[in-house]
Amino acid sequence: MMHDQDIGFQRSLSVPALASWEILSVVTSVLIAEWIAAATVGINKLVIAIPVTLAFVFMILSHREHRESLKDLGFRLDNFVAAMLMLLPPMVVSTLVFLVVGGLSGSGIHPLRWSISRPLVVQLSLGALWGLTQQYVLQAFINRRTMLVVGRGWVSILIVAAIFAGLHLPNVWLAVITFAGGVIWATVYQRTPNLFALAVSHSLMTWVVISTAPPSALHHLRIGFSYFG
């Protein structure tokens, strides 16, 4: 049963306004985890889990409210090859650029730099899982909600990429790289939504970047408050 005040709420908030609020809410949770909770790591590591859990619970409930299926979100295999084919050209170009950067910077190209203790296959698999998590938040939630606000196209793609880059501050070089990656992944997702393909791409490109870019520029991929630690 709907109350009068609920109807008033709905009339005062449009779909784009509510979608903006949803984006802001999830971004805020990530920022709390990166900046505020990370500052308390010496006290209790579990503090970081609280905003992250809140964000994931909210996103899952939000999908239910928007009646989005797993297939809508991109958890599907039917368009995996099509998405990989779209991702391939920018991945090849980016890899060539980073190989040149690695060669010119003097830091060299070290394919095993990502992890000394784990075999590369295991590290790439873990990277794909972490990539799937990030791409789920970035594409299946932020990108989809951004499309509700400004529609499909370059504006929403640039907003998604800017949010992705902003969440990697104050690591400036990583923010620049993730902005470029955010543009590519958001573009592919809007045309061919497949989170598994994006996760594979995310993991492979992370490997390329870590193997080629100067470690001093990447600052151990640290972001948020941990950047200063």
Partner: protein, 149 residues
């Protein structure tokens, strides 16, 4: 376009409230983990010869608080505040007369300088140490010709 449900709005409000509570709890926990609210003290006098003051931990007034001195942001030295200061006791700020500290001012270039004294606060069994400013930073001048000590 489909109207958003009020349940989603309630979810957003609930999440915002929980996060505000989390931030408040983190701020309070962080304050108590890094600060001893019972430390009282003052930096009384600074010149080219010495730096003196007093400090008491009112939660454990018989203990001697460790003090670190910095001049122009550079560490000078540390010692327990255990020098004779009967005036602090007389003012009912301590249980005994031994809560003062005096450092010899190191050799400095002529000109303006700033001294800061900090109480060392050890938390979590001494694994985390933080510095709490005692009183206010004091500026002082070293005249030319006095830096040959």
């Amino acid at each position: 376009m489909q109207q958003p449900s009020s349940r989603l709005i309630h979810l957003l409000l609930a999440k915002s409230i929980l996060e505000a509570l989390l931030i408040t709890a983190v701020a309070v926990a962080f304050y108590f983990a890094t600060t001893n609210p019972y430390v009282r003290g003052w930096l009384d006098r600074v010149d080219g010869q010495s730096v003196s003051g007093w400090v008491v931990d009112e939660s454990n007034a018989s203990a001697r608080v460790e003090v670190q001195l910095f001049i122009d942001g550079m560490f000078v030295g540390d010692k327990p505040a255990a020098d004779f200061r009967p005036d602090v006791h007389a003012a009912n700020r301590a249980d005994d007369d031994w809560h003062g500290f005096v450092f010899n001012t190191p050799s400095l270039q002529a000109g303006e300088h700033e001294a800061c004294a900090y109480a060392v606060h050890a938390a979590r069994g001494g694994r985390r140490q933080t510095l709490q400013l005692i009183g206010k930073p004091l500026r002082f001048r070293v005249p030319a010709g006095t830096n040959d000590r």
